[in-house]
Symmetry: C2
Subunit: 164 residues, 2 copies
DNA sequence: CTCTCTGCAAATTCTTTGCACCTAG
DNA sequence: CTAGGTGCAAAGAATTTGCAGAGAG
C-alpha cells in the first residue's frame, strides 16, 4: 500500500522558481513578517528535497539540522510558503498532505503514482491539457486549476510481481 | 470556498448497478455477515441520493428515517459497500471523504467542481482516457485507476460575479 | 523595544475502535 | 442460540491554535 512506505521520489525535476529563498524573504518583508532561522531552514530543506514530502518527512529532514524545530512550525511555514506562491499542497491516496514546489506558469504537471512502492512520476501532456479546457468550456466552466493522477504499478513493481 | 457549503449535486445520473441492494445482500450472505435494518437503510439512502455525499450528510438523511443510527455505523457501512464494490470513496478539495456509487466497467467518469458554489458535474471524455493510457504506457506504468478533477467556476457563479 | 514567532501542549476535526447489549439467521 | 452488528464514548491521526517566553527588525 501507499500508506507508510519510505518513498522513492521522482528522478526528474521540473521547472523551478529561480531563487525561492529570495521570494520568501521579499514576501515576508512586505507583509511585516519575519525571516526567521526556522523559516529559512524549512524552506531550504523543502526546496532541496524537490517535492512530494509529507510534513512529517519534512520535519525529519529539518531536525537533522536543528532538532528543536517543532511540527507546528513546519505546518505554519508550509502554509506560509503556500500563501506566497512557493509551494502547493497535494493529497494522493493516503491521508497525508504532501507539498511540492509551486509550478511556474506553463510548468504545470500531473502525476503517475505507483501504489506498490510509492514512486511518484511527473508528466505533462499538452493534448490532455487542451482537451480538459475543451471539456470545461463545453460545461460552462472556467477552470482555475486541476489535478490528474494515474494510480497503478510501475515497471519495477510489475517485474517484481512476475518473479514472485 | 468549497469547505462547508450546502451542496447542490449534479443533475445528471451515470450508469448504475442494476440492484445494489441485492448485490449487498448477496455479498453479506456469502461472507457470513448480516443484512441489518441499518445496512439496508444506509444503502438505500446512499443509492437514492446518487453520490458525492459526505458521511455526515448521509447520516443526516438516514436519521430522517431512523434517528437512532450512529455515525460509526454509517462509516462501517460505507466501508462495507466499498468492499463489495458498490461504492467508492473520493476526496475533493475539502477534508471530507465523499462516497459515490461504484462505476460499472466502462462507466468511469471524472469531475468538474465549482469552487464557489460546490456544484459537482461529471463528465467522460474518451480521448482523454486514451491519452492517459498512452502516457502511462510511455512511463512503464500499468494503470489501475485514476482521478481527474477540474476546479473552477461554473456558469452561474461566473454570471453572479459579473453582476456584483 | 516591539511585535511576530516558536515550542509546547491542548484543542479540533474526521475517522476508527473497544465494549456491553442487541438481533439476524 | 450465537456469531456478528450497533450505539456510545473513548481512542487515533493529522492538523490547528492559545499562550508565554524568545528573537528579528
Amino acid at each position: 500500500m501507499l500508506q507508510d512506505q519510505p518513498e522513492r521520489l521522482m528522478d526528474h525535476k521540473h521547472g523551478e522558481i529561480e531563487d525561492p529563498r529570495a521570494v520568501l524573504k521579499d514576501y515576508v518583508a512586505k507583509q511585516g513578517l519575519k525571516f526567521t532561522r526556522q523559516r529559512e531552514l524549512i524552506a531550504d530543506v523543502f526546496f532541496k528535497a524537490g517535492g512530494h514530502l509529507k510534513v512529517e518527512d519534512l520535519l525529519e529532514q529539518v531536525r537533522k539540522v536543528d532538532n528543536q524545530v517543532s511540527l507546528a512550525t513546519v505546518y505554519r511555514t508550509m502554509k506560509l510558503l503556500t500563501e506566497c506562491g512557493l509551494a502547493s499542497p497535494h493529497r494522493f491516496g493516503d491521508r497525508h498532505t504532501r507539498y511540492e514546489p509551486a509550478e511556474q506558469e506553463d510548468e504545470h504537471h500531473d502525476h503517475l503514482i505507483c501504489t506498490t512502492c510509492g514512486t511518484i512520476v511527473e508528466f505533462y501532456n499538452p493534448k490532455i491539457e487542451a482537451l480538459q479546457e475543451q471539456v470545461a468550456k463545453d460545461n460552462g466552466f472556467r477552470v482555475a486549476h486541476h489535478r490528474m493522477e494515474l494510480y497503478g504499478t510501475c515497471r519495477d513493481c510489475q517485474e517484481k510481481k512476475k518473479k514472485s
